[in-house]
Subunit: 371 residues, 2 copies
Amino acid sequence: MSATQAPESSTGHTSAVSPIETDALIIGAGPAGLFQAFQLGLQGIASHLVDALPHVGGQCAQLYGHKPIYDIPGIPVCTGTELAQLLDRQIAPMQVPRHLSQQIESLRQREDGRWLAQTTAGTAFAARSIFIAAGVGAFVPKALKVPGVDDLRPNQLHYHPLQLDMAIGRSVLVYGGDEEAVSAAIACASPLSCGANTGAGAAKTYLMHRRDAFQAEPGQLARLQQLRDSGAIEVVIGQITEARHAAGQLSAVQWMDGEGNEHPLSVDMLLVFLGISPRLGPISDWGLAIERKQLVVDPATQATSAAGIYAVGDIVTYPGKKKLILCAFHEAAMAAFAAAEYLQGEKPLLQYTTTSAKLHGILGVSHPGAQ
Amino acid sequence: MSATQAPESSTGHTSAVSPIETDALIIGAGPAGLFQAFQLGLQGIASHLVDALPHVGGQCAQLYGHKPIYDIPGIPVCTGTELAQLLDRQIAPMQVPRHLSQQIESLRQREDGRWLAQTTAGTAFAARSIFIAAGVGAFVPKALKVPGVDDLRPNQLHYHPLQLDMAIGRSVLVYGGDEEAVSAAIACASPLSCGANTGAGAAKTYLMHRRDAFQAEPGQLARLQQLRDSGAIEVVIGQITEARHAAGQLSAVQWMDGEGNEHPLSVDMLLVFLGISPRLGPISDWGLAIERKQLVVDPATQATSAAGIYAVGDIVTYPGKKKLILCAFHEAAMAAFAAAEYLQGEKPLLQYTTTSAKLHGILGVSHPGAQ
């Protein structure tokens, strides 16, 4: 069962693979999680990052990707995507492995004190410490909830952009009206222009939305219109009411037009873009102290109520907590110092990246004159 | 008595000018103070900045001006000067008046609750709230402590770089071996090349240091050598032991060479660069709760023990406090929210610079589509 196929499901997964042993597992790769990896790295603590989205940047890249942010200290203006890129470049020296498009679906403590975490994609971790930087929850695509969907076999229903070659020769229905839907329809319908895939695209591309109005950049809307005019994309105004299949093989969808009349449409692949909504998900089941859906932490350490589990960013609460990105950065530093003491058994010295030869080594920069 | 003339003095000043009325006075224009001004501005609170140095940036610009910092979130690398410039640009929309080269020497509460603050340069403020962002203290030039110095009249002894025209036609002794000393000597000895001052410089420029080794950029050292070779700068190896004057008018210094022999040197202006050292200064006399030389604050509000006085950055302590610039940024945000409630009588709503039309107005940016 893949994460993209059944985004709302977080049960039923079993895995016999041995877990990845790590000092720190960071849940969430938004600005808070990325900077957490950096601060842990400065403490000499290796970490892994997990995120539900297929890219780093979290809420910031997902909701403010192209919008300006003005209150990151020292950055008069940047977009959400630019901030994610800057942080990604900053943490590059730490070489943090990323496990994207998957959520942690279970977390329990092993007898030796390590936390066993398992993702919806079957990745398992045995981590000495956990850092929850999950923002307002995992950004999960809204699922298509119509009869027949749950019985489809893999690779017929997708909630994230496809690798282009997966649509070749298929009859594809893109369902949605936002930028992701428009991009996906264009990608499926456009003959590819380079390499081995020259000329190949979907056999047929439909784009279904409840009304004939799409949200995308002007350039994309113009391209969509070209492809509609040429017949490469057929726009259907309506809503899916059922997925028809034979033994799990998608054959058609049933759809309803504006007058309430239903029609069949033969397709063998569904790309669904109904928006992304944050879900706290299983985090609320892990037995951590929670207050009004926020994890309660000690602001001196960002420790939750469970030993070895820290939390930072929009998901936490403490007296005076403000949901600002710049506060998450501070919290990540506090958590890294606390975790260093927890993992290494002694209070770490405060060192400065400007002057510490040890930190220069970690950052991969050389300063012959450094102390 | 000017601040540059007697940096160690903080008494004896009297002023009858009426104070500047302001909602907020920020003491210290390092990264913490600059970002405090930004956060206050976002809350609609106007502020004034005061700093002992002749420029903004504080410790960061003074000690790490040309050195790289790697842990400002979202800025993979920048120098201290660059960080100060970025913050300066970020707070530009707030149009915060700066009062530089002066320290707050007294602070007391008026009967109406306002805080009366007075600087060593005679500027007075009546502020509804105070933000102490003074780092490890005011960066004050180390004073020349030899007989005769205290009796000199104004404009004969300086601890900061001069405006160039002040040295024209004077016999100048620059005392020190660091970059500031070398720059000052070069500036005094170099014929000015533009405008009304063409061809004018000091009548005579001496550069005295205890040994014949100067710390400066290679280009500056090369220029110094040129000016020594041409006779425009005369380097003297030794130490000042006395300032000679007649009725406060500097006539010469007495100096000692490496063998302990003393000599006179006729000069009528002294530029002293003996380094800069931080001094907590009068802050420790203001009756605020202090623990190991740090101001004790509540991390939820950054409030000190006095109503209306907040503190942020390296000068504060609270459980877990780390002396990192990125923590000061968070503290500035916390203090601004707390002060907004204190000054405006109600808890401010959390708004985002990406989406708030009110904040866009404050920032002077227009976003027709913003909510």
